[in-house]
Amino acid sequence: MTPTLPEGVERRPLAGEEHLATRGPPVYGEPTDGTWRAWDPGRSKLGAMLDLGVETGLAGGDSVLYLGAAAGTTASHVADFAGPTYAVEFAPRPARDLVGVAADRGNLFPLLKDAREPATYAHVVEADLDAVVQDVATRGQARVAALNRRFLADDGRLVAAVKARSEDVTAEPGDVFEDVLAELEETYEVLATERLEPHHDDHLGVVARPR
């Protein structure tokens, strides 16, 4: 298997181990080597997808809308290899950290907005983006993806980490994923799915393109 990593993401020996890595200022005390810094797949669902060899369609230099940026751990790596990166986070506390991460990354634009209300950021986020990266821990993850379809170019990619426990804590994750994928199929064509164990329990990585 030769997974295609986006340009700007490499597997490199760091601190005695091979790690996914990007080039940029360190953010969370990760191992570094010169300008390269390790991308921990255990702390990042997108990192886990790349580590597991999922074909995300991200090429490097992409324009990206990142939904659920939280404190910016993953968003910082995305901004390292991507072009303009719009990072939407809903909660004020992690948004404060996200601002810190964005401050020394000129292509990372933090936004304190609700991913379920795209009209509140459509005046800032540009159209025809290459990718929407979604990691929102809220019920209705398929709906969030559908609502944000409007920002994607027709040949763009949705790269989502679906969290089973956000939809229903009691249901079997497999059943939850089936429901979410079925709803997603209304607006997207699903290209690939991958369970993110052992990095993240009960998460499904999904790559899709707009219908």
Binding site: R93, A95, P110, L111, A119, A122, V125, A127, V169
Partner: protein, 321 residues
């Protein structure tokens, strides 16, 4: 946490609409109402955040990022360059970066500050309303006993008197006073509803574990979520029992086992011999919950499971001995 804020804000305004009495309702109107109005004032447009703005007015640009809206995205960089807002795409992204960083920093700070302090005001006002309503209800009961020859204790008694049709001037005053008691009790109920809705947005883990009202009381006693997160758990355990604690420190009486956390089922429902242990265990987990809420904001359902297990062990120990 996700989902809490917007519904919470709508909730504030609903509370204000239901209880237009001046004075007590006013602070609530200030926190929710104005913010809600500001959001709506943006209106729906198909213009970008930079439209019609001075490229050098950073404050106005940040405000436009925060408050603006659009139905659909567009090629904003190209439009901004065409409109003369920036010389080229690169310059546009530079301005966008400055504006979004500033907007998000301001917005996050403002909402964080607002959220826990509004909760503190609300829970204190709730307790004030309850206390004053009960005090005045006693006065109503005394007066009604002399005037109407009825025995009407408490706030429910005052409600009965409020429904009475007055025949004399004295009865007019009595019934009017009883209605104030009824109004205050109603305000306390509305404040409780507000606290129950707001606490999970401010401190999701703490509210889930302690219940929203106790969570709000702990935040209030500490003076804020950050202050609570910085307390050692031994302090959290006796928050609200300051009189007993200082009496103990002066050498009078035993040390208090619990403060307001006594209202939690895990303390109150545990046998008296084991209550100290239960209070200590609960305070420990509540302190962790407050820290998680303040420093990360993530939901950690496993905290509750750990607490459940710990309390079960403490209680079964009590049964054995």
């Amino acid at each position: 946490m996700v989902g809490g804020h917007l519904t919470g804000l709508r909730g504030d305004r609903a509370v204000v609409v239901q209880t237009p009495q001046a004075g007590v309702g006013a602070p609530t109107a200030r926190d929710g109402g104005l913010y809600g109005l500001a959001r709506e004032a943006g209106g729906m447009t198909d213009e970008g955040w930079f439209a019609g703005r001075d490229p050098d007015d950073e404050g106005a640009l940040a405000a436009a990022v925060r408050e603006g809206r659009a139905d659909a995205p567009a090629d904003w960089p190209a439009r901004a360059v065409a409109a003369g807002f920036a010389d080229d795409r690169e310059a546009y992204y530079e301005r966008l970066h400055a504006a979004t960083v500033r907007a998000t920093r301001e917005d996050a700070l403002e909402r964080e500050r607002a959220a826990d302090q509004q909760l503190v005001h609300a829970v204190r006002a709730m307790d004030d309303c309850d206390r004053v309503a009960n005090e005045l209800a006693e006065r109503v009961a005394e007066w009604a006993g002399s005037l109407l020859d009825v025995d009407v204790a408490g706030v429910d008694g005052a409600r009965t008197v409020a429904d009475h049709s007055p025949d004399t001037r004295a009865e007019n005053r009595l019934v009017s006073l009883a209605r104030r008691v009824e109004g205050l009790a109603g305000e306390a109920d509305d404040l409780r509803t507000f606290v129950e809705r707001r606490a999970p947005a401010v401190a999701p883990n703490l509210a889930a574990m302690a219940g929203p009202v106790l969570a709000a009381r702990l935040i209030s006693l500490a003076g804020g979520l950050e202050a609570l997160a910085k307390q050692p758990s031994s302090t959290v355990q006796v928050l609200g029992a300051e009189d007993a604690l200082f009496a103990h420190l002066r050498g009078q009486g035993s040390s208090p086992k619990h403060g307001v956390i006594f209202t939690h089922e895990y303390v109150r429902g545990t046998a008296p011999d084991e209550r100290g242990s239960a209070a200590r265990a609960l305070a420990g987990k509540l302190t962790i919950a407050a820290r998680v809420d303040h420093y990360s904001g993530e939901l950690k359902p496993e905290l509750q499971a750990e607490l459940d297990e710990r309390i079960e062990r403490i209680r079964s120990r009590g049964e054995e001995s």
